[in-house]
């Protein structure tokens, strides 16, 4: 417990994330009577199953110092594949195929980025469009639908009051990825190439392996989010799910990643995703139109960016001040020595 407190007070961004999510939750809990109840908690966790994964995917990429813009298209492609294949092959096999396609796409992106040494935003804008086109091709420009809507019931049944199999799996994925990022060599490599790429490469860390792992993980998470959305609603569109990029980015940035890379973690991603979920779920009660949700989510993003930039500027000023102070100290001590030597 003490360790935990120390960690939180040391990490300004994480404590800001916790404060922000607490504020959002309390705001809605006070204003809306039913917000603080079992059913709403279940609904929030259901949304967490989708948004948390997208936030996690973007968090991993941003930790590696890159950003993956193709996440929405990847999720849409996976959703289309899963929904289309569920009828002939059954849900489990369709899920395996869809997830392996998404993971493979992510790994390929990582390989290309590491091989050409290009920035990820450049290549992922291209794949954003390419994957969207492929999803449209597979769906034949139509909305793909399940014929038997009872098939996906197995992921939406309530377990233990708050959970469903989908959200339990997502929490399991979070724990696994957290352990992977924190305690294994491969996870630490991702942090290394994000935080200080030149130094890491000079120290002998290969660029390809962590890059491929990071993007494969992000592709897997995006694909899983697409699968959950597709199976839950029973439909999928090639042009859909583009809003995931904004929501995921907000979740990642609220969770305290830095765009410079090498900072943040899975705990932050979970808190960030929960904050966005609180906001989205709370706004449902005001019966607002879709664009208001987008507006408020973007305002949240801007708040977080401004806070991060300000804290960075503040930090650098503090560092400069302390540097100047130490220089002054040394100067005065040297002068005094000189004086005493001369005076004698």
């Amino acid at each position: 417990m003490e360790n935990f407190l120390k960690k939180i007070t040391k990490d300004v961004d994480l404590s800001f994330a916790i404060l922000l999510s607490f504020c959002v939750y309390v705001f809605f809990a006070i204003n809306i009577e039913v917000f603080f109840s079992h059913n709403i908690s279940f609904a929030i966790l259901e949304r967490f199953a989708v948004l948390g994964l997208v936030g996690l995917a973007l968090t991993i990429c941003i930790i590696a110092g890159e950003i993956d813009l193709s996440i929405g298209s990847n999720a849409a492609l996976c959703a289309v594949i899963v929904v289309k294949l569920t009828d002939p092959l059954g849900a489990p096999l369709a899920m395996i195929i869809g997830l392996s396609v998404s993971t493979l796409i992510g790994a390929t992106q990582g390989f290309v980025i590491a091989f050409i040494r290009i920035r990820a935003i450049v290549i992922t804008v291209g794949t954003l469009m390419l994957l969207r086109g492929v999803a449209l091709l597979i769906a034949e420009e139509k909305t793909v639908m399940l014929t038997d809507f009872r098939v996906p019931d197995f992921i939406t049944t309530k377990v233990l009051m708050y959970f469903s199999p989908a959200s339990l799996t997502v929490i399991f994925i979070f724990i696994c990825v957290g352990i992977f990022m924190r305690y294994t060599k491969y996870g630490r490599e991702i942090y290394a190439i994000g935080g200080a790429r030149k130094e890491a490469l000079t120290a002998g860390i290969p660029l390809r392996r962590p890059m491929i792992i990071a993007f494969a993980l992000s592709g897997f998470c995006a694909g899983f989010a697409g699968t959950v959305i597709g199976l839950k609603s029973g439909t999928a569109q090639g042009l859909g799910l583009q809003y995931l990029l904004l929501a995921g980015t907000v979740a990642a940035f609220v969770g305290g990643v830095s765009i410079l890379g090498g900072k943040g973690g899975v705990l932050g991603a979970a808190i960030g995703a929960l904050t966005v979920n609180f906001l989205n779920t709370g706004l449902v009660f005001y019966a607002l139109q879709v664009h208001f949700v987008q507006l408020f989510t973007s305002v949240l993003l801007v708040i977080v960016i401004v806070f991060q930039t300000m804290s960075r500027v503040f930090d650098s000023r503090q560092a400069r001040k302390s540097l100047l102070a130490t220089i002054d100290e040394r100067k005065t001590s040297l002068l005094e020595k000189k004086r005493s030597a001369l005076g004698r």
Binding site: M129, A139, Q294, V306
Partner: protein
């Protein structure tokens, strides 16, 4: 010195090869142009007609103008804006509001100049605000992603997510559907803006500064050209270009809605990504400092040509999006491989 003399004495074929080596991507683009053109002549009906070429350039003009604005941002090393279509849509809504209601005062309703000024003002304001955040040290992608949501939200809120109509005849017809010397006005604007941008980038102080800041931020800062003011100026230029396209498009359609430029618009599903694609296919370096608006214009015409041919061949939107996506990925990979280790890369 000897190298210069040698170069002068080289035979034509060697000079041609040297040209190819120096401008690899431009050359590849030109050869692809030629291949497309010949294929089009022989295998596509109704391809070699003046009407068709007019249609190609007209298509290219819409996203070409926006892409020329975006080229300034890309050249100055600020990557790109993800809020292009949202900026355009809010400016279009502003313009249509002015044409339909005159912002509340009936005297101004249908006044082209006031509506145009209002739309451009909205563009300038959004550009300045986003540029300010980027200049302060925010990441352009994240800032404009947030800006996109806010601009779309405000635009949809203001227009109640409805289609705003205004009736013909109105003062903006000459811009929307009028033509001059056989070419539509929007095509003329594209040509004029492309020439102006090229002159600004090559022959003015400001243009050279854009290249300097983009090629080397540290050198720019050391010589007194900080990215702060540069970011504000280039973002404003880009947003004004978006506003102009929106005005022309709304004048043509006689109506505006907050999601005119999104998923269902045009061939490729998304105006923002299409414009970014145009800049990339033209072969500009995304890291900044290398490229030109001429390349961007060529990229726009190339994408319009490919799209036009696929339409004439009877493809649906899926294969067309795949085609544009493949072009982007191809040009990125080729550019990355050829530019490896050169100045144009990181």
């Amino acid at each position: 010195m000897s190298a210069i003399i040698e170069n002068n004495q080289l035979p034509f074929s060697a000079k041609f090869l040297q040209f190819y080596k120096d401008r690899t991507l431009l050359a590849i683009l030109l050869s692809l142009f030629a291949v497309m053109f010949i294929y089009g002549i022989f295998f596509t009906e109704n391809y070699l007609t003046i009407t068709n070429f007019k249609a190609i350039i007209r298509d290219a003009a819409l996203y070409g103008i926006m892409a020329i604005g975006l080229t300034f941002v890309t050249l100055s090393g600020n990557f790109f804006l993800l809020s292009l279509k949202e900026t355009a849509s809010i400016c279009g809504v502003t313009f249509a509001m002015g044409m339909a209601t005159g912002f509340g005062s009936p005297d101004l309703a249908g006044n082209f100049l006031v509506s145009l000024l209002a739309a451009l003002t909205v563009g300038v304001v959004s550009g300045v605000i986003q540029g300010y955040f980027v200049g302060m040290g925010g990441n352009p992608i994240v800032v404009t992603l947030g800006g996109a949501g806010i601009l779309y939200g405000i635009g949809a809120w203001w227009s109640d997510n409805l289609v705003i109509n205004f009736t013909r005849p109105h003062d903006a017809e000459w811009l929307g559907t009028g033509s001059f010397l056989g070419l539509p006005s929007i095509t003329w604007s594209f040509i004029l803006i492309a020439i102006a941008a090229e002159i600004v980038l090559r022959h003015t102080n400001f243009g050279r500064k854009v290249y300097l800041v983009g090629a080397n931020k540290a050198a720019g800062k050391a010589t007194g050209h900080e990215n702060f003011s540069m970011a504000i100026i280039v973002f404003t230029i880009c947003s004004v270009c978006c506003a102009f396209v929106a005005v022309a498009f709304v004048a043509q359609m006689d109506s505006a809605q907050s999601n005119y430029f999104s998923a269902e618009f045009g061939s490729s599903g998304d105006m923002t990504i299409l414009v970014i694609a145009t800049v990339m296919v033209g072969g500009n370096s995304i890291m900044g400092g290398y490229g030109s608006t001429l390349r961007t214009s060529l990229g726009a015409i190339f994408i319009a040509m490919v799209d036009n041919m696929m339409v004439l061949q009877g493809f649906n939107s899926g294969p067309r999006i795949v085609g544009v996506g493949l072009m982007i990925v191809f040009s990125i990979i080729v550019f990355g491989l050829f530019a490896k280790g050169s100045r144009a890369q990181e």
